[in-house]
């Protein structure tokens, strides 16, 4: 749990809150056409509950923050560049909003969307 101790008490930031920030940052990254559930079960659950954090998993390892993002990329873009740009954008937005460092961001390409075959 992301935690900060202040003189008045402590502030906890749930993984879900972090995931929401990461989700919206990802959708703004160029080349990303969607986020994908990690597996079928999660996909079903996400469809039913309509959670705003589909495809994003957030873990705290001690106080280190790790984020996994599963994306679908537009066919015909340079995938490595898109992925690293997602990692940069998410890191920037999360750190800006939380004021705490992100340890690792892992970007998984779950698939490609072909809107125009060449």
């Amino acid at each position: 749990m992301g935690k900060e101790i202040t003189t008045l008490g402590s502030i906890h930031i749930s993984p879900n809150a972090v995931a929401t920030i990461a989700y919206h940052a990802t959708l703004q990254s160029y080349g990303v056409v969607g986020l994908a559930p990690k597996n079928l079960a999660e996909g079903l659950a996400a469809t039913i509950t309509n959670v705003p954090t589909r495809g994003v998993s957030v873990y705290y390892d001690d106080d280190l923050l790790d984020i996994d993002i599963h994306i679908v990329v537009e066919y015909g873009t340079r995938i490595t560049t898109v992925a690293s740009s997602v990692a940069n954008t998410v890191r920037y937005h999360v750190q800006k909003a939380l004021g705490m460092p992100v340890h690792h961001i892992n970007v998984h390409i779950q698939g490609l969307r072909v809107s125009n075959p060449d």
């Binding site: 080349g31 990303v32 056409v33 560049t81 940069n88 954008t89 004021g99 809107s115 125009n116």
Partner: protein, 557 residues
């Protein structure tokens, strides 16, 4: 349009636009973009590591051009496909990926065509827009995407009146420019920063480069450009004072008519150097260095073209003297930090001590000490812009440890504090710095090492007091050993020798004396010689510390 340009344009219009012609146009776009690369970079507002939009776009265009540079005769469709392929392979950064998608759409629009005609060009621009928009779930307006959209719309509009591709190209340039200027209205973050979108500006330069090539205009020298006010760097321009240019003149003004930049720069260049022009908040700011006799000339000149709201004139030579006196006549050379390395921030009370810290590899110095504690913000500012996450702070004073702690709490960087209470402790810790090492281990070693050194401080008592069994009268010379009052004496000499005795200097190897700004070099050297005589078995070093209040800071190790 002059007759030469007219003739050149006629020649272009008479020749079919095939693959070779496209190659020339792409090359022109690349060259012009590269010439204006810094302008595009300076517009960047999104501080991510790969944020140099201009550089990214140039590298992407370069990759696209490399793909076609050696190709012989091709149809326009084939050549555009190769451009697209090259841009895709070489796409760098967000803007590069979008640019590659624009080329991909452009190529698709021209698929199977031999030569470029008006309708084909318009169709390709529309395809470029559509393809680029498909690449993102939530298109953000006020970016390169918007500019591509406005270009396609302008092209479609132009097609109603002409089907000559060069005429269409000529008409989309002003539309692209207008679109770029409009981006701050669509994207608040741009407006806050007072800039236009960098990617959009880059795209504008590519098309403008093509048109300049058609008109036979120069492509290598960037146009003089106006920068946003926020990007004007007037502080650092101090370093570039040319002999003879003694005055810095800064004028804020509203031009009466729209400013002819080219002429404005030309006129200013006859008066002085280091010219910068910025625009923002509805006004312009001009900055120039001029010789003494011309110091009022820029003001009179600008009076003639508009209304002046503010004038600032500064004597650069006097300022330079001031700065050199502060830094002890030499510029401080701090360690350059690569991303991932450990950066050390040290608090230093005097220029001489700063120099010693710099020579040991400190990356940033914060001025401060006993009577002038730096704020948390000052400490934070010292390391926030260093290109690394790993920071070690040496407060070098017990009153500054807390501010350092607070700086650590408010930053996202990984900060370690080595709680050095004195300058010698800080210097001793610096001996254990390994910039490539594991920051935690390095900090641990540094913390351990601060007890390896004994610190003596010699100053004059400002009030009568009794502490730790030592009675002190106002005006007496007092000695602090490791922060504790141990001795009061009448002369500095007596205090220095008494301090060394108490510190057990006989057992030590090295004694370093930092003399303060209240002592002359001659006096300090005389005292150092005295110490050398008293301690013949020890190595004695004397340094101009330049610290206020303390006649001597002494390290015994």
């Amino acid at each position: 349009m002059n007759p030469d340009t007219q003739a050149r344009l006629e020649r272009f219009k008479a020749t079919p636009i095939d693959g070779q012609a496209l190659k020339k146009l792409v090359e022109a776009g690349l060259t012009w973009l590269r010439a204006n690369q810094q302008t595009v970079n300076s517009l960047n507002v999104f501080p991510v590591p790969d944020g140099d939009t201009g550089t990214n776009m140039v590298l992407t265009m370069q990759a696209a051009y490399n793909e076609i540079g050696n190709l012989g005769h091709r149809s326009i469709g084939q050549m555009a496909a190769s451009v697209s392929q090259g841009a895709l392979m070489g796409a760098r950064g967000n803007s590069g990926v979008i640019l590659s998608q624009l080329w991909r759409g452009f190529a698709r629009g021209l698929h199977g065509q031999d030569v470029l005609d008006g309708p084909g060009f318009v169709k390709a621009l529309a395809e470029a827009r559509d393809t680029a928009y498909k690449g993102v779930v939530r298109p953000v307006e006020g970016t390169i995407l918007t500019v591509a959209k406005d270009i396609a719309a302008a092209a479609e509009h132009a097609l109603k009146e002409t089907d000559d591709p060069f005429e269409i190209l000529a008409r989309i340039i002003p539309a692209a420019d207008a679109s770029v200027q409009h981006t701050p209205e669509l994207l608040p973050v741009l407006k806050q920063a007072g800039v236009v979108d960098s990617g959009g500006k880059g795209l504008f330069f590519i098309y403008e480069g093509m048109l300049r090539y058609v008109y036979g205009e120069a492509l290598d020298a960037p146009l003089v450009s106006i920068q946003p006010l926020s990007a004007m760097n007037l502080e650092n321009s101090m370093e570039a004072v040319e002999p003879g240019q003694d005055y810095e003149v800064v004028v804020d003004f509203h031009p009466a008519n729209s400013l002819d930049l080219q002429r404005f720069y030309g006129d200013l260049e006859e008066m002085g150097t280091s010219i910068q022009v910025g625009e923002g908040e509805g006004m312009y700011r001009m900055h120039i260095h001029v010789p003494t006799e011309k110091r009022y000339q820029p003001i009179d000149y600008i009076m003639g073209i508009g209304t002046i709201t503010k004038v600032a004139i500064e004597n650069l030579l006097a300022q330079m003297d001031d700065i050199s006196r502060k830094t002890g006549g030499e510029k401080l050379t701090l360690a350059t930090i690569e991303p991932g390395q450990i950066a050390v921030v040290a608090v230093s009370p005097g220029p001489g001590i700063s120099r010693v810290f710099a020579s040991l590899g400190v990356a940033a110095i914060v001025e401060g000490g006993q009577t002038m504690n730096p704020s948390t913000q000052e400490i934070l500012n010292a390391f926030e812009n260093l290109p690394t996450d790993k920071v070690i702070i040496l407060p070098n004073n017990k009153n500054i440890i807390l501010a350092s702690q607070q700086a650590k709490d408010v930053t996202v960087k990984q900060v370690h504090i080595v709680p050095s209470r004195t300058i010698p402790q800080g210097l001793s810790a610096m001996m254990h710095l390994n910039p490539e090492g594991d920051v935690e281990k390095v900090a641990g070693k540094m913390i351990k090492s601060i007890d390896d050194v004994a610190t003596g401080e010699i100053t004059v008592a400002t009030r009568s007091v009794e502490i730790d069994g030592v009675e002190v009268e106002t005006g007496q010379v007092i000695v602090l050993l490791n922060g504790k009052l141990v001795l009061a004496a009448v002369t500095i000499e007596e205090a220095l020798l008494g301090m060394l005795e108490k510190a057990g200097a006989v057992e030590s190897e090295l004694i370093t004396l930092f003399y303060g700004q209240d002592l002359t070099a001659t006096e300090a050297n005389r005292l150092a010689d005295l110490v050398r005589k008293t301690y013949p078995g020890q190595e004695i070093e004397i340094q101009d510390g330049g610290q206020p209040h303390y006649q001597f800071i002494v390290a015994v190790e």
